[in-house]
Amino acid sequence: MLNYFIRRCFYGALVLLGVNLVTFMLFFTVNTPDDMARLNIGGKRVTQEQILKWKIERGYDKPLYWNGGAEGTHKATDTVFWDRSVSLFALDFGRSDSKSATDIGHEIKTRMVISLQLAVPLFVLQVIVSVAFALLLVFFKNSPIDFWGVVTCVLMLSISALFYIIVGQFLFSRVFHLVPISGFESGWEAVRFLVLPVILSLLSRLGSEGRLYRAMFLEELGRDYVRTARAKGLSEPKVLFDHVLRNALIPILTSAGSYLPFVFLGSLVFESFFGIPGLGSYVIEAITGQDFAIVRSMVFVGSVIYILSYIVIDVAYTWVDPRVRLA
């Protein structure tokens, strides 16, 4: 178990290295720092001095990968790659490219807490509601409830999340004045701001999740142990809730686990629509402001969270199903 864990972590680090290299090449080789300087300063006439000043302020004037002019180890460390890419491993994100040059590490820390406040309740409710809905459909298999339930699912998953948000905001905030349209406050006040995004996010994913879980349950229902349980004379609810539900936990875990990274990263669309200052809206602000330092850091943070999540899921398998042994 420990052996497996260490090996996974090692592989994760290797993947992270690759991610780092890919993002660095994407951001610094496809376009030179000069191009970025020109874009960031803006305007038609950008002088060479302005570009140089912009680059020096942000440390982009050094050589990209290898500094031939420096001494000893500085040949490798006195480069943009070392400053901006390798230092990410020490969780040193540096400052953003914009004029305010905020500390990215600090921003990420404060914003992740806010993202978690939205994402944790959402994650838990999402799994509970979707599984409950799917169980309902499976319990009434081959009946109008099942049929129209699936039809509703298909209809719901054909509607873009953006429509749910716009209509939901319009109805609940503008027409009924139940919750504020957008914004955020800390403490218990936050609940008022979080209710609507949580409900809408639940609805927007219920169609696809419900159908997915329904298929999982039906697959389990076709197995031998279900026939045995029925032959034993167990009632259908008992078969479904005691036997099938427990055995379906593994596929549920896999599918729910794939959302785990977003628990930390927040939802881009929901956060920015509802003005919640989490990581998701941070990314959108960075993209619209063309602040590449933030986007780079977020790619790194995102991958770290992804890799960690998958290790956690693997460990969770052993806890859900004692038959699974990690080696």
Binding site: D35, L137, S158, S160, V283, I287, M298, V299
Partner: protein
């Protein structure tokens, strides 16, 4: 009127898709096995209705993909041998068909079917300046006063319904004729069977779909002759026209992005699954790496870099349309290059399973070369997975485009797309009085397209993957098997 044909990158894609579909249809025709499977798809009532809608949408996309630029009339005094000058506007065949909608641009918002503007303005009435709702330039221009509006709209709508009904009747008789020829029946007998739903394929459902489509589009097109059926947006552009133009963008994204995933996903998936060893390790590392970067972030990073490239090389593109088209094309390529991991993983697993089967072992024993085994023996047996994934991804990508446009890394803002329409609608929905029609139009078109794509995809999956068929919901319990 002479013109120069312009072939944009995405036009090539749409036309190539059309040709590929025709070629595939030809192949289906020739292979009894494939024909049986696709007949299964068509026997699915939801799938065949969805395909009617999809064909219609695709036709709009194809018509919108034939681009040209008009020749500008020569300036007086210009020498005859001077190079021909072309207009900067790149038009498509659809623009010509809807020329009235393009030309009838208003100044600002107007409600659906309105004959007056949405906001008050200072208008010169008989020499006096008055604050009133100004008459629209195009919407109801031939009406002399407001009382005629109701009668005119009703009349046009009825004409539309009539023409729609006629077209639907025509389609129904063509289908009945086809049924009659195939089953060697008299026309009356065939029509009777058709109406009772006793045909081999669910033709009655098709007729109902065609009727519904005609009932919706007949009045819409009839009214569009004199009104803005879905109103106009902030700069006075017709919303109905924008929605029709967005269809092409959606189709290009849905098809090109999946096509772009195929070379990497299929190639690497089969090679790594068959060869195993270090090749497998490398491929696994690659897709783990790719899938460990959150998708939106990776796409955003790529699109931002592409944007910088396009901005710093303005001389590469002759017209604005070319620039936004290259952006669309590259966006799809990026979606493809970042999205191959799932299909690759699927194909790798399937190849591993297949490579253990007797027929592959037999081929190896006969000394067939490795490359040939992969192409001739493995590939044809994973094609069904590729088809299922392609059709399932199509609708997901259309939905994804809307989100990407919202994030700011979608298609060019100058290009019509559902994402762009929703994005604008967002500010309109918070206006007072409410401007709802752009939003409603985008919603109606997008849901219809995505729903049709989803239903068709479900039909395809059920036909190609027998296991999935067991999960179909049924209204009546079936006999235990």
């Amino acid at each position: 009127m002479s013109f120069k044909i312009v072939v944009l990158w995405s036009d090539v894609v749409v036309i190539a898709t059309l040709l590929m579909l025709i070629a595939y249809a030809w192949r289906i025709h020739g292979s009894p096995n494939l024909r049986a499977t696709w007949m299964k798809v068509l026997r699915d009532r939801a799938a065949i209705c969805a395909s009617v809608v999809l064909v219609l949408f695709f036709a709009v996309a194809v018509v919108d993909s034939l681009h040209f630029r008009r020749v500008l009339s020569q300036a007086a005094g210009a020498s005859a041998d001077q190079a021909q000058a072309y207009g900067t506007r790149t038009e498509s065949l659809l623009d010509v068909l809807l020329a009235r909608l393009v030309a009838g641009r208003e100044t600002s918002y107007s409600a659906p079917l309105a004959m007056r503007g949405f906001t008050k303005d200072s208008v010169d009435v008989n020499g006096q300046i008055e604050r009133t709702y100004p008459r629209l330039k195009y919407g109801g221009e031939m009406l002399s006063d407001d009382t005629q509006w109701r009668g005119d709209v009703t009349r046009m709508a009825l004409v539309g319904v009539g023409i729609g009904a006629l077209v639907a009747m025509l389609a129904a008789s063509v289908i009945a004729l086809a049924v009659a020829r195939k089953n060697r029946l008299r026309f009356g007998e065939a029509a009777h069977r058709l109406l009772q739903g006793r045909t081999d394929l669910p033709w009655r459902a098709v007729v109902v779909t065609v009727l519904a489509v005609c009932m919706v589009f007949g009045p819409l097109l009839a009214l569009a002759q004199h009104y803005h059926v879905f109103g106009t947006d902030r700069t006075g552009n017709d919303v109905f026209y924008q929605a029709l133009k967005s269809i092409r963008t959606a189709f290009v994204i849905g098809t090109l992005s999946t096509i772009a995933t195929l070379p990497l996903a299929v190639g690497l998936g089969i090679v790594s699954g068959y060869l195993r060893g270090w090749v497998d390790e490398v491929v696994q590392y690659l897709y783990t790496l790719l899938s460990s970067i959150p998708n939106v972030l990776l796409i955003a990073a790529c699109v931002l870099m592409m944007q910088v490239f396009i901005d710093t090389h303005p001389d590469l593109f002759e017209t604005g349309a070319e620039r936004s088209d290259v952006r669309l094309f590259l966006l799809c390529v990026i979606l493809g290059l970042t999205g191959w991991a799932t299909l690759c993983r699927l194909l790798r697993a399937e190849t591993m399973k297949l490579s253990q089967l007797e027929y592959v072992q037999a081929a190896t024993a006969f000394g067939v070369r490795t490359g040939r085994i992969m192409v001739r023996h493995i590939f044809p047996n994973v094609v069904h997975l590729i088809i299922i994934t392609t059709v399932l991804d199509f609708s997901a990508l259309i939905l994804y485009e809307a989100v990407l446009s919202y994030v700011g890394v979608g298609v060019d803002p100058a290009m019509n797309s559902f994402g762009g329409m929703i994005n604008l609608a967002r500010t309109e929905m918070s206006r007072d009085p409410l401007v709802w029609w752009s939003f409603a139009a985008a919603f109606a078109f997008m849901v219809t397209l995505v729903l049709a794509a989803n239903l068709f995809a479900d039909g395809v999956r059920d036909a190609f993957d027998p296991r999935a068929r067991a999960f179909r919901p049924r209204l009546r319990p079936t006999a235990l098997t």
